[in-house]
């Protein structure tokens, strides 16, 4: 059994995920973590030899080895590492919702302090692609920004939604690091510098990412899933009812391959094999895990795995040596194997017995209702499923209808559908009351997003009075655009917005794509170009028209820019298109965007004005305070009182001003997010190189504040005419 080589109890709380290990003086390993009240503490067990105490770093009153750094704002991300290779030691990077601080602990100086308007939800430090100097990459509100040690903004791009996790990993095996970005829209995106090379759809917000080795990386979701990807293929995943707070790759069993170490919200730490997900080691803390990191904390030349809990407990583990034979848990492998094999044997025996009993029951009597109680049904009972579009009625909104029916008089007691991302939980249960039981069930489904989903159905079939039911397990795929119903072409309702592009594909292939991605009635047949299909969205009754000309030119008209993007991306992957230039026009959306951009300007100027006001006020306060104190010393109570009343009023004004500033800031943030999203959406309308061109050109246009240029790029895809 692997035991911790050291255990520390720090008397400070540790905020989840805010833990980093660094050598801030170049030699001694220290642990830095965010704690309560907007502070960061640095635990330096070698403090006696070296004094970190400087005016900015306060000695902690609770712990001799701990120094505190006051950030005065809730810390939203933290990391440590080499940002300036010439410096010879690590620096600490602390991100908050508005700023990023790069702090040189040893010299007690700021490397830089930058405002990051999009916030810093996640941070990663390292080299990216061909950029020579190490970058501190922060992910915020749909945006990614990379800074070098001087605070120069060397990297910028946008992504689909709020960034929650970042990692650097050599994804394509070219020896250079790519950036992995996990965001709130459930996607993991891989950036080769600013080009998106891969996108993987997950089922929940991606909360953590970590590189394992080569192109393999681990990920964790907010619903308790952890798993490992190799490139775009998922190796394995497991789901727990607890949340994975922190994941880290570390070779704990000394087999030369790093395992995925997960710190859970219930205080559990486990190490799982990267190939199978099998648990090879676990340990328990008394409170939730805050972070899992590695470092040579004992300064003996061996790197330990360091796990910290939110209550400040820190344990370090050395990798198991050769004598443990990779067996880190206290039960012996053979015993477990025997248990597993015996269990398998028992299961097989049970199954055999089931068949035996079945044939016994078969020979004994013909089937009737009364047998239903024992769970006997005709052997030829079949289950039919059908997906169709239901346009809804007055009482029920439009939805996709899943119809499940049995082939005889047996009834369906209940249906369990396991599918991710379309229900509130991971499953949906339909359990008709006893008087509504029948052999057919209609289940309304309304997927919130246009993604293809596998519906794993478990149907309990039996009779009305059964206590045992047969479970029929079936899987159906819900097409990506299931929420669009075929409708008759109506030129008057055709949307104003459209995208135009050309593909070199036969019409039959396009029809195949249509059939695979939409729920078309069976009798609809489309033969040759040119043709036109129209759909109505079940969510908002918006229209979608797809027109194909014999030349292969396709026009997709819809007012929903996201839908247009989804269709293009779906087609591109179906037809294996690498680069696609698209002409687009979304007059309504562009008009909205224009308004937002104007607003952003307004908010910016308000922000500046408010900041100036605040500075004025604070000067006033200073002078008032001096005058009030003067009055007090002069024993002029009347004047003093007057001054203090003034001060009080001023303070109230300041507080109000702060509230306004706050509101202004949130408004600004949401608008900036909309702008970032607009760029991302414009990019999604294109595929491959043109996509990156659009994103970069848009950004330049916004920098130079050239709105007309921006819209031009969004329309035609390039800046130049």
């Amino acid at each position: 059994m692997l035991l911790p080589v050291f255990t520390l109890k720090l008397r400070h709380k540790i905020s989840p995920r805010m833990v980093a290990v660094g050598r801030y003086d170049g030699t001694h390993t220290c642990l830095a973590a965010a704690t309560q009240a907007g502070k960061v503490f640095i635990h330096n067990p070698y403090a006696r030899r070296q004094h970190l105490n400087t005016p900015r770093l306060l000695q902690s009153p609770l712990d001799a080895d701990v120094s505190l750094l006051n950030i005065n704002q809730p810390v939203s991300c933290l990391t440590a590492g080499v940002l300036n290779p010439e410096l010879g030691h690590d620096c600490l990077l602390v991100g908050t919702q508005t700023n990023l601080l790069a702090y040189d602990v040893y010299n007690n100086s700021d490397l830089f302090y930058r405002e990051v308007i999009d916030g810093a939800n996640a941070i990663v430090l390292g080299t990216l692609g061909d950029i020579p100097s190490p970058l501190a990459i922060v992910g915020g509100n749909c945006a990614l920004q990379g800074f070098d040690y001087e605070g120069n903004d060397l990297f910028w791009t946008v992504t689909g939604d709020n960034v929650h996790s970042l990692a650097l990993c050599d994804f394509d095996g070219d020896g250079k690091k790519e950036l992995l970005v996990g965001s709130e829209d459930f996607d993991i995106r891989v950036f080769k510098e600013d080009e998106i090379v891969a996108e993987m759809a997950e089922t929940e917000t991606i909360t953590s990412l970590c590189p394992m080795y080569g192109s393999r990386f681990g990920y964790a979701l907010s619903n308790g899933t952890v798993g490992v990807y190799d490139k775009t293929a998922r190796y394995w995943r497991i789901k727990s009812k607890n949340h994975a707070v922190s994941i880290h790759a570390f070779d704990l069993n000394s087999d030369g391959v790093r395992e995925l170490i997960t710190g859970w919200s219930n205080g559990k730490v486990d190490a799982r094999s990267d190939r199978t997900g099998e648990v090879i080691f676990k340990d328990n803390f008394s409170s939730a895990i805050a972070g899992v990191v590695e470092g040579d904390y004992r300064m003996d030349g061996h790197v330990q795995l360091i796990c910290c809990s939110v209550d400040g407990e820190v344990r370090g583990y050395l990798p198991g040596g050769a004598e443990m034979k990779g067996n880190l848990m206290d039960t012996s492998v053979e015993q477990d194997l025997i248990r597993e094999l015996s269990q398998k044997k028992q299961n097989l025996l049970l199954e055999l017995r089931n068949y035996e009993e079945n044939s016994k029951a078969e020979s004994s009597s013909p089937v009737n209702e009364s047998d239903g109680q024992r769970g006997i049904i005709p052997a030829n009972t079949k289950l039919q499923t059908a997906l169709s579009v239901n346009l809804g009625s007055d009482s029920q909104a439009a939805h996709v209808e899943l119809r499940i029916s049995t082939s005889n008089d047996t009834i369906i007691r209940a249906v369990l559908i396991f599918a991710e991302g379309i229900f509130t939980g991971e499953s949906h249960v339909v359990h008709p009351s006893i008087q509504n039981l029948s052999s057919c069930i209609r289940i309304p489904i309304t997927p919130p997003k246009d993604v293809p989903v596998d519906l794993h159905m478990k149907t309990f079939v039996g009779y009305r009075n059964s206590t045992q039911f047969h479970v029929f397990e079936l899987t159906r795929q819900l097409p990506r655009f299931a929420m669009y119903a075929l409708s008759n072409p109506d030129p008057t309702k055709e949307p104003l917005s459209f995208v135009n592009f050309t593909v070199n594909e036969r019409v039959q292939r396009v029809v195949m794509w249509l059939n695979q991605n939409f729920l078309l009635p069976e009798d609809s047949e489309i033969q040759n170009a040119p043709f036109q299909v129209c759909f109505t969205s079940l969510r908002n009754a918006g229209h979608l028209c797809i027109k194909i000309k014999p030349s292969g030119e396709i026009t997709v008209s819809t007012d929903d820019i996201d839908l247009a993007g989804d269709i293009i991306q779906s087609m591109a992957s179906f037809f294996a298109i690498e680069d696609l230039q698209v002409e687009a026009d979304f007059p309504v959306y562009f008009e909205e965007l224009r308004k937002i951009l104007v607003k952003v300007d307004e908010y910016h100027s308000v922000h500046q004005k408010l900041s100036a006001d605040m500075a004025d006020h604070s000067n006033l306060i200073r002078s008032l305070l001096v005058r009030a104190e003067d009055a007090r010393l002069m024993r002029d109570m009347k004047t003093m009182k007057k001054r203090y009343v003034e001060l009080y009023d001023l303070n109230k004004d300041l507080l109000n001003g702060y509230k306004i500033r706050c509101n202004n800031h949130t408004e600004l943030l949401s608008n900036l997010k909309a702008v970032n999203q607009a760029i991302q959406r414009a990019g999604r309308l294109r595929v491959g190189k043109p996509k990156n061109q659009v994103v970069n050109a848009c950004r330049d246009a916004i920098r130079s504040n050239n709105l007309n240029m921006l819209f031009r790029i969004m329309r035609v895809g390039t800046a130049s005419s």
Partner: protein, 715 residues
């Protein structure tokens, strides 16, 4: 004294019932003992262990399920005759497997509990106790509630035969002949009885009991009255006790108490100088421990604890070290044994796999032909639906012999499903659909691999009643599921008690009409938990209940044509009135309901609630302050500047937080009950005060006892 035990699994038999495994006494020169075990397939098997392999001695053919297994023999001689209870029959076997006894008891129900002492045989069906001597009927007793276990004090030490019944209504009934000498109330429903030290202690009168809520205790059963010696309160919230044994596993000359629980925990208690139990060892297995005994089975010279689990695993927890200190050669040999075992298992598996594939194909083919039928294979589900007094919630435990795939929970009453830390299953709630299908709760538990046991916690609301259903699907082909139903009773938070305070102000509800005793009893069963399903003997019966949440009480006395219910809580009376009139209308019985309301009782109930509410409010306030105080402490470096009250909070922070976490929504539930009380008080007066409830909640938000009483009086 550190006790380390290593687990080794010997064999798997069929699903086992409680107390169905024993070790035969060692015979001859051999020191190792043989294991006898009976399973629910009716197979009695006896085997010994040689070099880690199970070597069978004998095995009987399958039959009716074996409910109990005991060893017997002449008094003061080795107890090596095997007695098993199957159905209503007792069979006896010698240690070689020869059947020497087959005794059909003519009981109408199957035997649930058995005890053997010399030529005396004590048998219990659900409610009936029978004493046989040399298979001749001697005594008979009809118990008021279900009998869980039976034992008899050692006849060698005592002048007469004193059998004791462990009954579900939380009493031990001490008998003499066919009469009851006295009842002993114990803290929970007793599930298992054993003689202290294996022989009843020095006096032979010390009796150990274990309860379904995990408590243990010793009572001295003297001829005149019981003497409580000690009790273990189950602070760690472990499972119910299923089996106990006394064996000196520590090796200090004092017999230790071995305990097996239904959550898979095995415990060893030693006894200190004052004869108080001290926990020496505990280990958690993944499924219920049905039988436990100490002895020497695996290897000569190493004592061990042998236990059986629900799914039929026979496991040893042995003192034999895993890694021998002897030379490297020995270890190799152990490995060789293991390897052989694994190899033979693997070949078995391959063989079976082929057979299963064939059968599977045949099954598939049969589904093509039209007249064929397909029977859902049955599997046994071991379920337990019990009330936990400490947090006033129900716990539902489901255990299946093979791994569970998923459990779907459906309820037509509003109940809350609480998270249980021990569970690793992923829970997912579906939107309830009320209008069409009366589903208040729909949830799925998707279990991780190898989960055979699932525990759920359910919080109910008094007055809301209906059925909770659990659909259990195990991971076995062909896939089937079984549904289990559990009643949520209208007065779900009440518990049977045997004594109440008669001086409290009482409200009375009187039922009169043309109904039989059985009918009125069935209504009481319908409304209240812990009432035996069978109508008790006699013309008139009285049951006492206690509301575990508020400590209010209920007395129900009924006979043919009349039922009287008295409670100091007006809400209890109101619920009873609603439910009874609804039930009577459903069955078209003309029922006269009269009630007598005592105004004083409302203030009395409020007074009962007052300390609980005040405590909870204070607790909530304290917990709210903890974070802020800790931050201050961090800022200032110490807590010396704080007032003593705050310093005290800081010191107790961990305990407070834990307590707060342990009773979620306690305050909300109290508020709900006060609101009910308010509404019910005026309902009996014929006024509807629902519009005033927001006002009441406002008062509760800034709680003051006097203001609350004034509000109740004024409205």
């Amino acid at each position: 004294m550190e006790l380390t035990l290593n687990r080794s699994d010997y064999l798997q038999v069929g699903v086992t019932s409680q107390k169905t495994m024993k070790l035969l006494p060692a015979s001859g020169r051999r020191a190792t003992q043989k294991v006898v075990v009976g399973d629910q397939d009716g197979v009695l098997a006896c085997f010994g262990i040689k070099k880690g392999e199970a070597v069978p001695v004998f095995k009987t053919l399958p039959g009716l399920k074996i409910a109990r297994l005991e060893l017997g023999g002449a008094l003061n001689a080795p107890q090596e005759k095997i007695f098993v209870a199957t159905g209503s029959e007792i069979r006896g076997f010698t240690k070689r497997g020869k059947q020497f006894l087959s005794f059909e008891t003519n009981l109408t129900e199957s035997i649930k509990a058995m005890y053997v002492s010399g030529s005396d045989l004590f048998l219990c069906a659900s409610y009936i106790y029978n004493h046989y001597c040399d298979c001749k009927d001697q005594h008979y007793y009809l118990s008021g509630d279900k009998i869980n276990d039976v034992i008899c004090l050692p006849v060698e030490k005592l002048p007469c035969i004193i059998p004791i019944l462990a009954c579900q209504d939380r009493v031990l009934r001490v008998l003499q002949g066919s009469d009851m000498m006295y009842e002993v109330e114990v803290p929970g429903p007793p599930t298992v009885l054993a003689l202290h030290n294996g022989n009843g202690g020095e006096s032979g009168e010390d009796l150990l009991f274990g309860t379904s809520d995990g408590k243990l205790g010793i009572i001295q059963i003297t001829t005149s009255n019981p003497v409580h010696k000690w009790e273990l309160r189950n602070e760690k919230k472990r499972g119910g006790v299923l089996c106990v044994d006394y064996f000196d596993i520590v090796g200090d000359g004092v017999k230790d108490l071995l305990v097996g629980r239904d959550d898979g925990v095995v415990e060893v208690y030693g006894f200190d100088a004052a004869n108080e139990p001290v926990l020496r060892f505990d280990q958690a297995l993944s499924e219920s421990v049905t039988s436990i005994q100490g002895g020497c089975v695996g290897k000569d010279g190493y004592d061990e604890i042998v236990l059986t689990t629900y799914s039929g695993w026979i496991t040893g927890l042995t003192t034999e070290p895993v890694h021998k200190e002897s030379g490297p050669g020995e270890e190799l040999k152990i490995n060789q044994e293991m390897q052989n075992k694994i190899a033979s298992l693997r070949s078995d598996l391959e063989h079976l796999q082929l057979k299963v594939i064939q059968e599977r194909e045949r099954y598939q083919q049969s589904s093509q032909s039209s007249p064929a039928i397909s029977a859902a294979p049955s599997f046994s589900v071991n379920d337990k639906f019990t009330f936990d007094k400490d947090d006033a919630s129900y716990s539902l435990i489901l255990e299946v012999q093979t791994a569970i795939d998923n459990v779907m929970v459906q309820s037509d009453v509003p109940v809350d499903l609480l998270d249980v830390d021990k569970n690793s299953a992923v829970v997912s709630f579906s939107n309830s659909d009320l209008e069409a299908n009366e589903n208040f709760l729909l949830a799925t538990y998707r279990c991780q691999a190898n989960t055979t046991r699932l525990e759920l916690k359910i919080r109910s609301i008094e007055g809301q009643y209906g059925t909770l259903q659990a659909y259990v699907t195990p991971r076995i082909q062909p896939k089937t599921c079984q549904v289990r139903q559990y009643q949520i009773k209208p007065l779900s938070l009440h518990q049977r008690t045997h004594f109440i305070d008669h001086d409290r102000p009482m409200n009375t509800l009187t039922l009169t009409g043309q109904f039989s005793f059985a009918e009125v009893h069935s209504w009481v069963v319908f409304c209240l938990p812990e009432v035996p399903e069978k109508a008790p003997a006699g013309e008139c019966v009285t049951f006492y209940f206690q509301n575990t949440f508020l400590d209010t009480q209920l007395e129900s006395t009924y006979r043919k044509g009349e039922g009287i219910f008295k409670s100091d809580n007006i809400s209890t009376i109101s619920i009873l009135k609603d439910v009874l009139s609804k039930e009577a209308t459903k069955r078209k019985i003309n029922l006269n309901i009269a009630y007598e309301i005592n105004e004083v009782s409302v203030n009395h109930t409020l007074k009962l609630i007052h300390p609980k509410l005040e405590y909870q409010l204070l607790l909530a306030k304290k917990v709210q302050l903890i974070d802020a105080l800790k931050e201050l402490q961090l800022h200032e470096g110490n807590a010396d500047f704080l007032i003593p009250e705050y310093r005290c909070i800081l010191e107790e922070a961990d305990r407070l937080q834990e307590e707060y976490k342990r009773q979620p929504a306690h305050l909300e539930r109290l508020y709900g009950m006060i609101t009910d009380l308010f509404i019910d008080k005026f309902k009996f007066k014929g006024t509807n005060v629902k519009t005033r409830v927001p006002l009441l909640l406002e008062i509760l938000d800034s709680y003051d006892h006097n203001a609350l009483v004034a509000f109740f009086d004024a409205a």
